[in-house]
């Protein structure tokens, strides 16, 4: 059925659904248009490769870009291995009984906890409890905790899409359960895992609340040198420029520029996810 016949046969529902879609797209483009039209004037090589100057009224946002990238890396290292291991356990090894149902429900609920709560928890556990101080390590671990429920849930869903007949095929050849998971189940579910993982990491990269108390700083000279330093991050920088700066009107273009860079960064992460997914899908087909 093509577009025209669909409209002819179901005029009312088709029109309503189309209008809803257009409405969503309108808002999306309004947001993007607003940010890029006002931020484009601030974007330049020096904006990306320079440090802020003159109380952040001039210069670039390099420390914030590097801070966010490094933070995302720490988040990945902290959450990816544990998240995938946990999903494999729940999906492949654990019996499906009341206990695992409760664990699953708990993990899904964690995904709905507001991010500021993670911020406070990170402050209590990493900054004070483990004495890591307000640092990029504490902030990265906090974001790791935030990402875990998403990574576990999406990985488990991806593992579930691998047909049981694949597992039985490998087991019937004499593979152990571990070999079956390592050689057959995981490779077959990489597209789904990669998509879920990168989406949750790009979401974490844009979070402000969890790093607010755990390590993000308004201004630091230079780039983060070790894991125990405070750091600048794009979302927090944006928040500061928009609400806390002494001359908000002057730095408005810089704020829009920062927003544009953050969006582009997240966009690039999503493109990477897309490429990984396609690469593995084509291999499997």
């Amino acid at each position: 059925m093509n577009f025209k016949t669909i409209f002819k046969e179901n005029p009312l529902p088709a029109t309503m659904l189309l209008l809803c879609t257009l409405l969503v797209c309108t808002f999306l483009f309004l947001i993007l248009g607003e940010i890029f039209s006002k931020g484009l004037s601030a974007l330049s090589w020096s904006f990306i490769f320079d440090a802020p100057k003159n109380g952040m009224t001039e210069g670039g946002i390099l420390p914030a870009i590097v801070g966010t990238l490094l933070l995302t890396l720490i988040t990945t290292l902290a959450s990816l291995p544990i998240g995938i291991a946990c999903a494999i356990y729940l999906s492949e090894y654990a019996e499906n009984n009341t206990t695992t149902q409760i664990i699953r429900a708990a993990i899904r609920n964690l995904a709905g906890v507001p991010s500021i709560i993670y911020g406070l928890f990170g402050l209590a556990l990493f900054v004070q409890g483990l004495q890591l101080g307000t640092s990029i390590l504490s902030a990265g671990l906090t974001l790791g905790l935030l990402s875990l429920p998403y990574i576990i849930t999406t990985t488990e869903e991806a593992l579930k899409t691998v047909p049981q007949s694949m597992r039985e095929g490998a087991l019937a050849l004499g593979a152990t359960q571990f070999e079956t998971i390592r050689d057959i189940v995981l490779p077959a579910s990489i597209p789904g895992i990669a998509t879920g993982v990168i989406l949750s990491l790009s979401r974490a990269a844009g979070e402000t609340a969890p790093i607010l108390f755990t390590g993000a700083a308004f201004y630091v000279t230079g780039l983060p040198g070790n894991l125990f330093q405070e750091f600048m991050a794009l979302p927090y920088h944006l928040y500061m420029l928009t609400t806390q700066h002494q001359s908000i009107a002057t730095v408005r273009p810089l704020a829009y520029g920062t927003a544009a860079v953050l969006i582009l960064l997240v966009f690039m992460l999503n493109i990477v996810a897309f490429m990984i997914r396609n690469k593995f899908r084509n291999q499997l087909k």
Binding site: G169, A170, L173, A175, A188
Partner: protein, 258 residues
């Protein structure tokens, strides 16, 4: 209830007093069966009679279902397969399985066959040769020799099933279990698989579940008829189909039910 069959060759699989329950439901009831070596034994019976369940007991695939409970004894090569010292992966290497729906791994044609060899620790330098040998024995080599490194999922259903047979015989099992291996295939592919089965029985013991009674007649030496979880009759195939002892068997063969 179940008469001992007149098996002249040595039985390789001996099933005695086998009961299997899924939760409260009893699916296999007191099964006695001696499967002769290097012969084709067919399991027939109406849907839900437990023939696939019995087949999957022989390589312990029920280990995957937490609610399956088994009593009784199954020995293969005089070794108790449920004994706690029996390594299940070693058992499954010895007792290969071909499934109802072709299930090639999402890997290349070559890797599909090589995988079993790798995990079972066959010497690395022998693997390419063994892969080719298995593909030839399964009569699929000529069709795939120019695309060994293409994904196996691009093959037709019949080719995929022969690839799955190649993958199974590559690891040098003694027994091959086949769970309705032709039910998802067209008549021509079915014919090819049946010819392959007749070829393979020179080297392997084959137990095949089939819904197709003509197929049982064409490929098998012995036939076991099952009904509602019980093994009703087990004998040479021509006897079962021409002169069965039990009325129930005769009714099924003649198509009165099932």
């Amino acid at each position: 209830m179940v008469q001992a069959a007149l098996v002249k060759t040595k039985p390789i699989i001996e099933v005695s007093n086998l009961n299997l329950y899924f939760g409260e439901k009893q699916v296999l009831k007191n099964i006695q069966l001696d499967v002769p070596e290097k012969m084709v034994t067919a399991l027939i019976g109406p849907s839900g009679c437990g023939k696939s369940t019995l087949l999957r007991t022989l390589n312990r695939l029920h280990d995957l279902s937490p609610d399956a409970r088994i009593t009784g004894k199954v020995t293969i090569d005089e070794q108790d397969i449920f004994h706690r010292n029996t390594l299940v992966n070693k058992l499954r290497k010895k007792v290969g399985m071909v499934f109802q729906k072709p299930n090639p791994f999402p890997k290349s044609i070559y890797d599909n066959v090589a995988y079993g060899l790798q995990i079972n620790g066959f010497p690395k330098d022998k693997i390419p040769q063994m892969v080719e040998e298995s593909l030839r024995k399964s009569y699929i080599f000529d069709e795939v020799k120019d695309k060994l490194h293409e994904p196996a999922t691009r093959l037709s259903g019949g080719q995929q099933q022969r690839l799955c047979i190649a993958r199974t015989i590559a690891v040098k099992p003694e027994i091959i279990l086949m769970d309705e291996p032709c039910s998802a295939l067209d008549p021509l592919s079915t014919l090819k698989i049946e010819e392959l089965i007749l070829e393979l029985k020179n080297d392997y013991t084959i137990v095949i579940v089939t819904h197709n009674m003509q197929q049982a007649v064409r490929v098998s030496d012995f036939t076991a008829f099952m009904y509602l979880g019980e093994l009703i009759e087990f004998d040479e195939t021509h006897k079962i189909f021409n002169n069965p002892e039990k009325q129930l068997t005769e009714n099924y063969i003649k198509g009165y039910f099932g």
